[in-house]
């Protein structure tokens, strides 16, 4: 049951084949079994069971709220959830319990979704590995898959079984792992530079980034306001479309959302791709790209061509500047957004004092209220608290951002980067205007790396490397989706990315759905984790028309 698609489970619930409570309990039990993945920071067991109970009542009366009623979902821990701790995987927000729900969370709950918990991430969503959070790294479920293990047996190794576990990618690694390990049917991530698509590719799930402005950011603790979007992680494209239909549309609480409301939609099934034009950006043929990924990319292009689509090479000439440009703009906004975390308002205070939950109270900042033993001044206190509360990555970005925003640097860095950003965005506009429907690119350079290898380089280096195919999309505000394609030689998932026109998210997903059907990506085999060893999916997905070697 847990391996089914959202639509299938929803139907099962309606037909009474399974109850929301049973479904919820199965997921909770699986979460417990997969605790070692460290995908969840908070498991909201009580809340979930209560929600499941209410859902059950509705089903009994025949009054289900829709396709999401009773469906277990997970939410990345940088979305505010009322009454449930929201930490952004940072010490700065440990113990912070928001008094409200992010709009997207509220929408899901209004549809009857059942919240399993808050998933793990890189601290404040900064990173591409989900390794730099205050609650430890997330482990990629594929590390324990039959497919990976079998391939590894071929290699001689003397180490213990678990020391070579793989990263999930990031920063929404917890969400990706939660979905990949069947503990929920959909998860919310966030995507600022690729943080939903990257872990999706590494964990073999679908990672969808909507157009900027389509989905409300209210309640998403901001990283880069002008690039952040809530992301959707699911096991198939159709599921992502269902969730998108519930989330998209104008939010009066977010002035950057489009004005129009959006109705839920059913994704039509594409059968004929002969009218499509697929663009392959030549600048994305990076030298660091692994041969395998390159090969899959090429095969995918050929697949489209063989089915009648037009596949052409296009150029996005400013691609090489996008990483640098992104770093300037990202760190600047981060420096600004992090300024509010002074350790007073969101809890990090003296343990003896009552933790402060809301901002609009009289606050005594007398010289005794702080956790560090510095009695000098507010500034010294802020500096000390912020040093304690933030990790290196966050502090590094804040310092860089403040540097770029200094009066003497603003023109040369920030303004310049904004100009370059426009050039990058225009590259995409030109390409789409020339008749291209979607772009097809890799999502990542290679499959998921082992943790021990990943941490050999620092966060900034890794981010710069790993974001290469994904972050120009955030700069341009376009929709994009990573679809798992096939397994690598090591038995690990590889994903490819489709980039669409602004606000043509439906069309993008339509094409992705067609592609997904063609490639028939294998189901992860985590047999030892399932109840009674039952298989995860009724249908054994054998390679028929696949891209495996």
């Amino acid at each position: 049951m847990l391996g089914r698609t959202l639509r299938e489970v929803s139907a099962a619930l309606k037909q009474g084949q399974i109850t929301p409570t049973e479904l919820c309990q199965k997921c909770l039990s699986l979460i417990k079994k997969t605790k070692f993945l460290n995908a969840y920071i908070t498991v909201s067991e009580e809340v979930a069971l209560k929600q499941a109970e209410e859902s059950e009542k509705r089903y009994k009366k025949g009054r289900s709220l829709g396709d999401l009623d009773g469906i277990p979902i997970a939410v990345k821990d940088n979305f505010s959830t009322s009454g449930i701790e929201t930490t952004c995987a940072s010490n700065m927000l440990k113990g912070y319990v928001p008094p409200y729900n992010a709009t997207v969370v509220q929408k899901l709950l209004d549809q009857g979704a059942v919240l399993m918990g808050k998933t793990n991430l890189d601290e404040f969503a900064m990173g591409s590995g989900s390794t730099d959070g205050a609650f430890g790294p997330v482990k990629n479920p594929w590390s324990y898959s039959k497919q990976y293990r079998e391939k590894r047996k071929q290699k001689p190794h003397g180490e213990k079984e678990d020391s070579d576990w793989l990263i999930t990618g990031g920063s929404s690694g917890g969400s990706a792992a939660a979905v990949a390990a069947f503990t929920c049917f959909a998860a919310l991530g966030s995507d600022t530079g690729g943080s939903t698509r990257n872990p999706a590719a590494h964990c073999g799930v679908v990672g969808f980034k909507p157009s900027y402005g389509l989905v409300s950011r209210h309640g998403l603790i901001p990283l880069v306001n002008s690039m952040d979007v809530p992301g959707i992680l699911t096991r198939c494209v159709d599921d992502a479309a269902i969730v998108l239909g519930m989330l998209a549309g104008h939010d009066p609480k977010d002035s950057t959302t489009i004005q129009d409301p959006v109705k839920p939609f059913t994704l039509p099934t594409l059968t004929d791709v002969s009218k499509l034009c697929i663009g392959i950006p030549k600048e994305y043929l990076a030298p660091e790209l692994s041969g395998e990924v390159r090969s899959f990319w090429s095969k995918a292009a050929n697949l489209f061509e063989s089915e009648g689509a037009k596949v052409i090479e296009v150029s996005l000439p400013h691609t090489s500047y996008s990483i640098v440009c992104y770093h300037v703009l990202c760190t600047s906004e981060v420096a600004s957004n992090m300024a509010r975390f002074d350790g007073l308002e969101y809890v990090l205070g003296d343990k003896e004092e009552e933790p402060l939950r809301t901002v609009s109270q009289n606050v005594n900042i007398g010289q005794k209220c702080h956790r560090c033993d510095i009695n000098v001044s507010t500034e010294a206190m802020y500096a000390a608290t912020r040093r304690e509360g933030f990790n290196d990555v966050v502090r590094g970005r804040i310092l860089a951002g403040n540097f770029f925003l200094l009066k003497e640097n603003y023109e040369n860095y920030f303004i310049k980067a904004q100009k370059v950003r426009r050039l990058i965005a225009n590259d995409f506009v030109k390409v789409f205007n020339s008749g291209v429907d979607v772009l097809l690119t890799p999502t990542t350079l290679r499959g998921a790396a082992p943790y021990l290898e990943f941490i050999k380089e620092d966060n900034r280096t890794r981010s710069a490397e790993d974001d290469i195919f994904t972050q120009a999309v955030n700069m341009a505000g376009l929709p994009a989706v990573s679809v798992p394609v096939a397994l690598s030689n090591l038995g690990l998932p590889i994903g490819l990315q489709f980039i669409g026109r602004a606000f043509c998210d439906q069309q993008l997903l339509k094409i992705a759905k067609w592609f997904e059907k063609q490639v028939q990506f294998p189901v992860i085999q985590l047999q030892e984790l399932m109840d009674d060893g039952s298989s995860i999916s009724e249908i054994e997905k054998l390679a028929s028309v696949s891209l495996k070697h």
Binding site: S255, E333, R340, V359, V363, G366, L405, F414
Partner: protein, 448 residues
């Protein structure tokens, strides 16, 4: 999220101050760390504010005579929308600072004036005029003591012909009066410093009410780099006029400058002009009527109910009524005398039912004991003017008979003598005779 009413208030204020309303304005973040700034930044409009290049006209009295006023203008550099910070309350006793965050994030309108004013009085007058304008628009009650209007003064001195000197910023001013005092004392201080060979520091000073001068503030240190950055969550603010309004636009979502302009209420300068035209009162009276909260309304209510001439009403309201208020430090809305009561009193006076002296007595009584009408007081105290013409004639006759010497003085052409006679008749009639009527009778009797 932008508050619509704030934007409307900004546009109204901009129009009232003759500004150009920018159809596109932008929002920025101004970063600095302070306990009363919870987000670590303030949203403001540094690059492109909502209104620019306006003017504020105000009238200063020249010399001692209140009737000689000249109009001065101070240019408005810009009006910008921004967020308020919280409030810091310093508790010296326990050496701690309390922070009240309730007002943090509330919308503010900042009006920036150019350095066109040259003394405390000019500034205070300009500020008072601004208060009246804001009150008339309804965009603010502009009460300085309650912090509804906060004024910071930037003061510098220079020799004529030379560029502007280094300025200091003076804060913590909670009335127009103290604003004037602070500015004047700061001007004095700066001149004194410069004349003694010292320099003026570009610093922030606070006004010490007890000492009557400015003192440096400890909190602000040196020049801050605010690291301005465009506010990413607020798209550019676009305003329209009737010409540029997109067809089919949702009125809830757009603001039409022309629409607002058409609905601007009467501004103080217009009101004053209207009062002069409508009631024939003098400019300085027109000013005075607007200078006190509620006074104009009171005046207009009295006018409505009385037949007395506006000039009379003005005189009574501005001299006697206002005098009583000030003596007891009351606001207009705390007056024990209602407009109706005053109107009735003036009617009695107008009908010559009582003399003006009597009227003043009645007024005093009205002030002291509420609930009694002027008519009641008049009959209680028997203040009615003598209506009996014959009795008055007899009284005059009696007085004339009794003071032949004075009568001779009058006949000999002494202009003051007749007043003596009038005074005697008044006394004889217990002040119940109208002096004008007495005079008229006496003159008639005395004419050959």
């Amino acid at each position: 999220v932008l508050n619509r009413r704030c934007v409307e208030a900004a546009v109204m204020t901009g129009l009232a101050l003759n500004c150009r309303i920018n159809k596109k304005s932008l929002f920025d973040r101004k970063h600095y760390f302070y306990a009363d700034l919870p987000a670590g930044y303030q949203i403001t409009q540094q690059r492109l504010p909502i209104a620019v290049n306006g003017s504020l006209a105000y009238s200063v009295c020249v010399g001692k005579k209140p009737s000689r006023v000249i109009t001065k203008t101070v240019r408005i550099k810009q009006i910008q929308l921004e967020q308020d910070s919280g409030k810091s309350l310093h508790d010296e006793l326990r050496s701690q600072t309390l922070i009240d965050l309730n007002r943090a994030g509330v919308g503010l309108l900042e009006v920036v004036l150019e350095p066109d004013m040259s003394c405390g009085e000019e500034a205070a007058t300009a500020v008072r005029e601004l208060q009246l304008i804001l009150q008339a628009l309804g965009t603010s009650r502009a009460n300085m003591a309650e912090g509804q209007l906060r004024v910071d003064a930037n003061v510098s001195v220079h020799h004529p012909g030379e560029p502007l000197g280094v300025r200091t910023e003076v804060k913590n001013l909670n009335s127009a009066k103290f604003l004037a005092k602070a500015i004047d004392s700061e001007i004095e201080r700066q001149i004194h410093e410069l004349e003694n060979g010292r320099e003026i520091l570009n610093e922030t000073r606070s006004f010490d009410y007890k000492l009557g001068c400015t003192m440096p503030m400890r909190d602000k240190e040196g020049k801050q780099d605010y690291r301005f950055m465009p506010e990413p969550n607020l798209p550019p603010l676009l305003l329209y006029d009737t010409e540029s309004l997109p067809p089919g636009a949702d009125p809830q979502q757009v603001i039409n400058i022309d629409w607002i302009r058409e609905r601007l209420p009467e501004l103080p300068s217009e009101t004053r002009e209207r009062l002069i035209q409508q009631y024939g009162i003098l400019p300085e009276h027109s000013f005075a009527l607007l200078n006190e909260v509620g006074l104009l309304e009171f005046f207009q209510n009295v006018i409505k109910e009385t037949r007395a001439e506006p000039k009379k009403v003005t005189s009574w309201v501005l001299n006697i009524f206002l005098g009583f208020l000030k003596q007891q430090n009351l606001a207009v809305n705390e007056s024990p005398v209602t407009p109706s009561a005053l109107a009735e009193l003036l009617n009695l006076l107008d009908r010559k039912a009582i003399s003006s002296t009597a009227a003043k007595q009645v007024f005093e009584e009205l002030w002291r004991s509420e609930g009694k009408t002027p008519s009641q007081i008049v009959s209680e105290k028997q203040l009615e003017l003598m209506q009996d013409q014959e009795a008055l004639e007899r009284a005059c006759h009696t007085v004339m008979e009794g003071h032949p010497q004075v009568v001779m003085d009058v006949k000999r052409g002494n202009p003051r003598a007749i007043n003596k006679l009038i005074g005697l008749v008044r006394k004889a009639t217990l002040s119940r005779a109208d002096p004008t009527a007495i005079k008229e009778i006496l003159e008639r009797k005395l004419s050959p």
